[in-house]
């Protein structure tokens, strides 16, 4: 207890486990919740590419959920 105070600043393996889990699970949850995201991405690329010059690998499709709202975020940088 007293001695733990000295090591407070050290990052424990338990903290690392928790952080790693939070990051990977946020990713996996989005993927599992919307398995269509990859197809959607492909379709968007097809449509947009008909009209403007884009780099397919730069398109970012993301489904985010805050406590109350869900946001589908699509980022398309134009060349």
């Amino acid at each position: 207890m007293l001695f733990n105070w000295f090591r407070k600043n050290k990052k424990t393996s338990a903290n690392m486990a928790k952080e790693r889990l939070q990051i990977i699970l946020a990713h996996e949850r989005a993927e599992n919740k919307a398995p269509f995201l990859d197809d959607l991405r492909q379709d968007i690329i097809k449509v947009i590419a008909k009209y403007v010059d884009i780099d397919p690998s730069s398109i970012n499709v993301n489904l985010q959920k805050d406590s109350s709202i869900e946001v589908l975020e699509i980022n398309i940088p134009i060349k």
């Binding site: 090591r7 424990t12 338990a14 486990a17 939070q22 699970l25 996996e28 919740k33």
Partner: protein, 265 residues
């Protein structure tokens, strides 16, 4: 009687599903509830041994759904209480021997006579798990404070949600207080922050579990057992009683030991 189907699952294997199923089933029966527990890990039967009932099995769950025997012929009465019956998994068949619809039909039938139908799910997220999930009114997810168990539990929670099984609660099994204190194991709160479903129990690591399994007497039968006490609290919570979560404390260490430990690290 309108019984309730309680499915015990985890995703990852070896985190204590069958041990928890045995303790919860026996605990509810000892509290006067009529309980039938079904081992759905077809091909890898185990609940019978944990409950110490392996010598009494004649018929199993596959025999019931294939109508080889009558329902009551495959229900094995517990040695310690008249309130508990076990339906064993078939040992020489595989998961495809039963369908989810058949298990739903079976549990509907059992609901007429029992307060609780406990389904011990196999590990994984395939057919066997789906057989255990589809009939569930409530699901208890077992995890341990390890990343692989927690990650798999999260996956299972996601699948349950997408199947509209929203009555879920979590048991964190095998918490080792000394490791938690050293920062080498995620705490109860760490796991809850990651998984974010209601907690129904925290079970401390108990080195006697192996011996309880050896003899076929689950920890809930042992009054001195810490894990047994944790399961008793879980039973009370399942029955709707409000019980505070017990503090899982490490053994008291003196100041000298603390100093030694400090320099050791």
């Amino acid at each position: 009687m309108a019984g309730k189907v309680l499915t015990i699952t985890s995703g990852k294997g070896g985190v204590g599903k069958s041990t928890s199923s045995a303790n919860i089933s026996l605990g509810l029966a000892l509290r006067g509830k009529k309980v039938v527990t079904i081992d759905l890990d077809i091909g890898l039967r185990n609940l019978d041994m944990i409950l110490g009932l392996e010598n009494r099995i004649v018929y199993d769950v596959v025999n019931i759904v294939e109508k080889v025997c009558k329902l009551n012929q495959a229900m094995i009465k517990d040695k310690r209480t008249d309130n508990l019956y076990l339906i064993a998994a078939a040992q020489t068949r595989d998961k495809s021997a039963v369908t989810a619809e058949q298990i739903v039909e079976l549990t509907e039938e059992l609901k007429k006579d029992f307060d609780y139908i406990i389904l011990d799910s196999p590990a994984g997220i395939e057919g066997g798990f789906k057989n255990a999930m589809m009939p569930a009114d409530e699901v208890i997810i077992i995890t341990t404070p390890e990343i692989s168990a927690v990650r798999d539990a999260d996956r299972v929670i996601g699948i349950l949600e997408s199947n509209n099984k929203t009555e879920m609660s979590l048991i964190i099994n095998r918490i080792n207080p000394e490791l938690v204190k050293k920062g080498d194991m995620m705490s109860k709160d760490d796991v809850l922050q990651v998984l974010n479903i209601p907690l129904i129990g925290v079970v401390p690591e108990d080195k006697n579990i192996v011996s309880y399994t050896n003899t076929g007497e689950p920890s809930i039968l042992h009054s001195q057992s810490e894990s047994g006490l944790a399961y008793k609290n879980i039973i009370q919570r399942i029955m709707g009683e409000n019980v505070p979560f017990m503090e899982i404390n490490e053994k008291k260490t003196g100041i000298l030991t603390s100093i030694i430990n400090f320099f050791k690290e």
